[in-house]
Structures are given as C-alpha cells and as structure tokens.
C-alpha cells in the first residue's frame, strides 16, 4: 500500500467539520486493473450521500476505502489520500480496528452473526472489553429502538438472529453498527436483498439517522438515491463523473453521461 504524505494531524476546528470525508487523488488497482482512476471528493457531515453508477464502475470499491475493507482483497493497491475528520486513514499510524468503530458498515446481504439478537448488538461493545451488564442492556435496547426493531424482538432477545426475517436482520445489522456510536455509516446496497416494505423501513430510518451520522450509501436504485440522499455522486469506469446536490443531479445534470444513466438509457 502506498500512502503519500503521511499526516495524522487533525485540521483544527472545535465543532464538527463541514466535511466528514475528504478524498484526494485516489487511485486504486487490483493487480493490473485500475479500478479507481483518480478521484477527489468531499463528503458532507450529517448528510446522506448516494453513490450511483453501473456495475463495475468503482462505487463499491470507493466506499470500501473509507473503512479499509479493501485491505483484504488480494492485489489491492492504492494511491492518494483519504481523510476522515482530518485524519489520514491510510497512514501507518492509524489503528484500523479503531477506524472501523468510527466508520461502521452495513452490507448488501444481511450478515448477522450466528448468535442471539442480543449478542449481535452487544458484539461491538464486547470486543471493546465492555462487561458492564446494565450498560450493555441499555445500549442494546437503545440501538434496537433506534432502528425500530425493539418491539419486534424484545421478547426474543436470546433467540438466534438467523431466525429473523431478511428485513429484520438488516435492521439488526444497522443496530449492531449504531451500538458502537460511529461517526460515519457506510451502506453497500443495503436494501438490494430486501422486499419493498423492508426497504421503505430502512429508507425511513436513514432519514432519522442522518441527524447524528454521516451516511454514504451505494445503490443501484435511482428512486432510492433520489428519495434518501442529499447529494449524489455518479461514477463511471472508475471516475467520478458528476457530484452535486441530489435534486440537481436528477433534474438538471451537467453531463450527458449522467443524464443517460439516470434516465435508464444505459447501465
């Protein structure tokens, strides 16, 4: 991994910064294949930012840079800088486990641990060494309430999470992420495996969550992007083609490519 200009100093600002994530000159290769061809981007704090684009355009790869999930992919190589809250997350000094507590992730397919509902939500706290039962209980309850799952599971907290429906599992995965109080939540097509009702529940949730979290969501669903996001970024062939307010992108895009994609002419 190449990371130029190692700099872990925080940019000084007392309150939360306007931009949570800053990417500068980011290039990514998988062996010889160049997946991201130089992207600069700023992602606003406490907003929902949607990444759209056809399959293989690099949007998921780009999203997974923010919590360093690509590190496990063989042949992965990167250039450029990504700063989250001013910290260069590809610096040698960064603690990856700590980073992932700050930058949570929800995946395409619901992936609860084969443990009880309670243990799924408590997992992130337990691996931090928290043993206080009352604290764990309160935190689990609060997190499940945040995703509106509490009423559905409160009588079966000790039942296996695998017994829940797909939509419930995905909300559980979101609750699990919320329990460790991240700053950023990355969502990689979180509703693509869900039915429409579960999907709309999660979309409603996003609306509430953005008050406290910065959310970046990859989606293949144009309607979803226009419904839930404040800003939208259109990726194509490893490049960021257009990035603007969602309203602007969907009503009056600058680039022809963007217009073709959102109107369904290709992709």
């Amino acid at each position: 991994m190449e990371s130029e200009q190692i700099d872990t100093a925080r940019e000084d600002s007392p309150a939360k910064k306007k931009n949570m994530i800053k990417a500068e000159g980011v290039k990514v290769w998988y062996d010889d294949f160049m997946a991201i061809k130089g992207i600069d981007m700023k992602i606003r704090t406490n907003r929902v930012t949607a990444f759209i684009g056809p399959s293989g355009c690099g949007k998921s790869t780009f999203l997974r840079l923010f919590n360093r999930m690509n590190d496990y992919v063989e042949g992965f190589r990167m250039e450029g800088n990504i700063r989250i809250q001013g910290n260069n997350i590809y610096s040698e000094k960064i603690n990856i486990e700590q980073l992932r507590k700050e930058v949570g992730m929800v995946f395409q397919k619901p992936n609860p641990f084969p443990k009880s509902v309670f243990e799924n939500v408590a997992y992130g706290l337990r691996i931090q060494g928290i043993k206080d039962k009352q604290y764990l209980q309160d935190k689990v309850e609060a997190s499940l309430k945040q995703v509106a799952l509490w009423d559905e599971v409160k009588d079966g907290l000790n039942k296996s999470a695998l017994a829940l429906s797909g939509g419930q599992q995905q909300r559980l995965c979101i609750a699990r992420t919320l329990a460790v109080e991240p700053e950023v939540i990355l969502m990689d097509e979180p509703t693509s495996a869900l039915d429409p009702i579960s999907t709309s529940k999660i979309e409603e949730l996003l609306y509430e969550l953005k008050e406290n979290y910065t959310i970046v969501i990859v989606t293949h669903n144009m309607q979803q992007a226009s419904r839930v996001s404040d800003s939208t970024a259109f990726f194509y062939m490893g490049e960021l083609v257009e990035y603007d307010k969602t309203k602007k992108i969907f009503t009056n895009p600058e680039k022809k490519q963007t217009e073709n994609y959102i109107t369904g002419r290709f992709g």
């Binding site: 919590n67 999930m69 496990y72 063989e74 486990e97 700590q98 980073l99 992932r100 507590k101 949570g104 992730m105 995946f107 397919k109 992936n111 609860p112 641990f113 084969p114 443990k115 997992y123 992130g124 337990r126 691996i127 931090q128 695998l162 995965c173 699990r176 992420t177 460790v180």
Partner: protein, 293 residues
C-alpha cells in the same frame, strides 16, 4: 438395443457393489454378535463389565473388560488432549491468517501425516519418543501410554486440522466482513465469530478423531505395551482393546475356545463405542447442513 443392454449391466453392477459393502458390514456385525453371544453364555455380562482384571490367557482366568477399556480411553485421551489444541490452531491459522497460496501447499502436506503407515508411527513412539521423554520423566517405563498417546495425537492432527479448516473455510465470507467491519482484530474474528460459526463442523472433526484414536491398533500395540492394567497412570504399560485383539489373533489360541471368543467380546465393545461416536457426528453434521441452507 445394445446400448440398453449395456446400461442395464452397468446399473446392476453398480447396485451389486453397493449391496456388497452393505452385506460385508452386516456379515461383520453378525459374526461379532454370534461369537460375542457364545462368549457371554459362559461369562456373565456383569462379570465382563465389573471385574477389574483381564487375564483370559492365565490359569486364573478373569474376564473384566475394564483394564482394556481404561487402556483404550487413556491413550485416546492423551492423543485427543494433544491433537485438539494443535489441530485447531493449525486450522485457524490456515483459514484466518495465512495467505491463500500457503493454504494450497500446507493442506496436502498436513494430510500426508495421515498417510504415514501406523506401524511407522508405532516404532517412532517406541524408539524415539519414549527415550526422549525418559530424559524428562525418570520413572517412564519402556512401554507406556504417554508416548503412544502423543504419537497417536500426531497421527490424528490432520483429521482435526483438515476437517476444521474445511468448516472454517465454509463460513460465508460475509460473516468475516461483518466481524472486521465491526472493528474486530484478527484474533477476535477467529475466536468470537469464526470458531462459533463453524463449531458443529469442528465438533464433528473432533469426534471423528476420537473414533479414529479408539480404533487405532498398531501404535498402541507396539508402544503402549501389552499388559492389561486398570490405571490412569500414563507412565506404565497398558493394553488397549485393539492391542489385545492383535495379541490373541497372532497367538496360538485354539479356534472356537473361550479364549478365542474373548476377542469378539472385546471387538463388539469397541464397535459399540465407535458406532455411537459416528452416529453422534452424523447427527451433528446433518443439523449443520440444515443451518446453512
């Protein structure tokens, strides 16, 4: 027309081979049962299960299976106590830490351990491990269950490491992503998520290894001695059920005599043990398959 005849013969041949294995199994069980039944006509089951001495070849005959059983369980216990931690560590290392290329080379190499003839292991235990251990344990007898058990443990490591690694490898990658995504370290991922998720497969691998250890013959016959003794002391000679069967089969005991029938009584005891273990592992495996589909 020719083709249909050919198909017919192929089908029947396949059926015959399948039936053959079933028949052989039934035959073995039948012989075991009949001979054991004849044995128990002369020696009561109660005596067989409670007498603490096994001396069927002496003038003062005792037919208590306990000494042989304790020898078998003791050597197997030592083997398992050694092989489970080592085998599991190997499987976790290969599946969660090592680069993929390493997995490809190391797995076949490990499985070679299972291909070494057990008689070689037996002599290894007797001529290498025992003298080596005698350097640390002064009272260690030349034949003992400790070195036999340890070497048997080496032999069954690949059973545990390979099958457990398969189980760990079969855990969906999405769970690994979930664990890392939550900020788990590699160690936390391995022990808090992967091992619990693969637990049924790991348990099956351990049960199969126990079953293999209980049935193992050559190593214990060579290195553990041939003295039936009711003891938990790993430094003295013992005799396992299998070693006893070898001893009598090779000796000049008269066919059809009571002494001869003791090997069937011992054999059926062994069979019941491994049968129970295999049934348990089959049940667990079935449950495991349902869980992931």
């Amino acid at each position: 027309m020719m083709r249909r005849i050919k198909e017919f013969f192929i089908e029947k041949t396949l059926l015959a081979t399948a039936l053959l294995t079933v028949l052989v199994t039934i035959g073995i069980i039948a012989v075991l049962s009949v001979e054991a039944f004849n044995f128990f006509k002369e020696v009561s089951v109660w005596e067989f299960l409670t007498d603490t001495q096994w001396t069927p070849l002496f003038t003062d005959k005792h037919f208590g299976i306990l000494p042989l059983l304790s020898g078998t369980l003791l050597t197997s216990f030592i083997a398992i106590a050694f092989a489970v931690p080592v085998g599991l560590s190997i499987s976790i290392y290969i599946s969660e830490y090592a680069p993929r290329s390493f997995r490809k080379t190391i797995k076949p190499v490990l499985e070679l351990l299972a291909a070494v003839p057990t008689v070689v292991y037996g002599f290894f235990a007797l001529t290498v491990v025992t003298p080596f251990l005698q350097g640390f344990i002064p009272g260690l007898s030349g034949f003992n269950s400790l070195s036999a058990g340890l070497v048997m443990g080496i032999m069954i490591i690949p059973f545990i490491s390979s099958l457990s690694e398969d189980a760990l490898h079969a855990v969906p990658n999405s769970l690994r992503e979930a664990a890392y995504g939550m900020g788990s370290t590699r160690l936390q991922n391995a022990f808090k998520v992967m091992v619990p998720a693969a637990s049924s497969g790991i348990i099956v691998s351990i049960i199969l290894a126990i079953s293999r250890a209980i049935g193992e013959t050559m190593i214990v016959a060579i290195a553990a001695g041939q003295q039936p003794r009711l003891t938990l002391d790993p430094t003295v000679p013992v005799e396992t059920i299998t070693a006893y069967i070898v001893q009598v089969s090779l000796g000049d005991v008269q066919h059809g005599s009571l002494e001869y029938r003791t090997i069937f009584a011992a054999g059926i005891t062994l069979f019941i043990f491994t049968f129970i273990l295999n049934t348990i592992s089959y049940r667990i495996r079935k449950k495991f398959q349902e869980k992931y589909e």
